[in-house]
């Protein structure tokens, strides 16, 4: 089976994740959409690994997962801290840096 369908699927998932980041207001859901985008790119990497016949793609996907984990940890801690202060998890609340 060729790798193109997988890559196309990855592109679709990535797009959906993008739209979600732009549209959702709950900070945690936005974060989840970002995770979706990362996962989509992981799929693409694994597909390319199979197509090219070496494991570099899988190693890269592995590293993406590790970094995603670290990112989630810190990001959620930040969201929680903000929530404690502002009592709201909406991304629209932090809008003071405007004209």
């Amino acid at each position: 089976m060729s790798g193109t369908p997988f890559v196309v699927l990855s592109a679709i998932l990535f797009t959906i994740g993008c739209v979600g980041v732009l549209t959702r207001r709950n900070a945690i859901v936005v974060f989840m959409c970002i995770e979706l985008m990362l996962n989509a790119s992981n799929l693409a990497l694994v597909t390319f690994a199979r197509v090219d016949g070496n494991l570099d793609g899988q190693v890269a996907a592995f590293f993406v997962m590790v970094v995603a984990a670290a990112e989630v940890v810190v990001g959620l801690a930040i969201i929680m801290t903000i929530f404690r202060t502002r009592r709201s998890a909406s991304v629209d609340e932090a809008s003071l840096l405007k004209y």
Binding site: T23, N54, L55, A69, L76
Partner: protein, 259 residues
């Protein structure tokens, strides 16, 4: 290939559901679905190690982190349907469609070439192959990401730490508080009865019944009270208890005598 064509509609549907779900918990669960399907796709593509790691680390750890924070932040929080920023939804949809179109177009123009397959690379086994790469070519990245993980953990601790703003109450303070409460409001100064002493049912949302048949409010979580999902105790239990109160009360010994 079969797996792909079955799983990809599910994945896309779940992703769209994540996009449109009103409640955050639903979104998290749909994301879990996507991730599990992804792991199966990894398996299909000769990446068993990643299949396992995806399930354990990504779905099992990271998604659970999400759910925990959701619980802390408030599971009830739901986005309103109305968009606050003018034109944002329209522009986002347009941009998203454009992005998707461009990506698919680009992919369509590119030919990936013949699939080499991982039979050669996985000759010693997928895990061994990955390990060989990881500890030779990517060892520096490996060490760096481990440092990153440690830093992230410490960072989370620092961020989540709450400074104690008031001095910690000692045991003596607590005892004094309890006595004062008893003196002023008549609250019981002693400890609460152990769980199960007054329980009449195993369910967590069924309150325990006090000796006079009334339900003990402190025996169910406040959440149930707030939500109004407390189950009433069984009628026979209530009858038996109320029967033992007042004139109609019969002691256990009398009851045993009747029998």
């Amino acid at each position: 290939m079969v797996a792909f064509w079955i799983l990809s509609p599910i994945m896309v549907a779940a992703a769209l559901g994540l996009l449109f779900a009103r409640k955050a918990v639903h979104a998290a669960l749909l994301l879990a679905v996507v991730m599990i399907c992804l792991s199966v796709l990894y398996l299909v593509q000769n990446a068993p190690f990643l299949f396992v790691v995806q399930i354990i680390v990504y779905t099992g750890a990271i998604l659970m982190l999400f759910l925990f924070v959701l619980m802390l932040v408030g599971v009830d929080a739901s986005d309103s349907v109305v968009e606050t920023i003018r034109g944002q939804r329209l522009m986002a949809t347009v941009a998203g469609l454009a992005l998707g179109l461009l990506l698919v177009l680009g992919i369509g123009q590119v030919s990936l070439g013949a699939v080499t397959g991982l039979s050669q690379a996985n000759a010693d086994g997928n895990v061994q192959g990955l390990a060989q790469l990881l500890f030779s070519r990517y060892v520096f990245a490996f060490e760096a990401t481990s440092a990153l993980l440690i830093t992230a953990a410490i960072g989370a601790m620092v961020l989540a730490h709450r400074e104690r703003l008031t001095p910690k109450l000692t045991q003596a303070d607590r005892a004094a508080q309890r006595m004062r409460a008893y003196a002023e409001h008549g609250t019981h100064p002693g400890p609460l009865p152990s769980p199960g002493v007054y329980a009449r049912h195993n369910a967590v949302d069924t309150p325990a019944l006090l000796p006079d048949g009334s339900p003990a409010e402190t025996s169910v979580s406040r959440m149930f009270t707030v939500r109004g999902t407390i189950r009433p105790a069984s009628a026979s239990d209530v009858r038996m208890l109320t029967a033992s109160v007042g004139d109609a009360a019969t002691t256990d010994q009398e009851r045993q005598g009747e029998r």
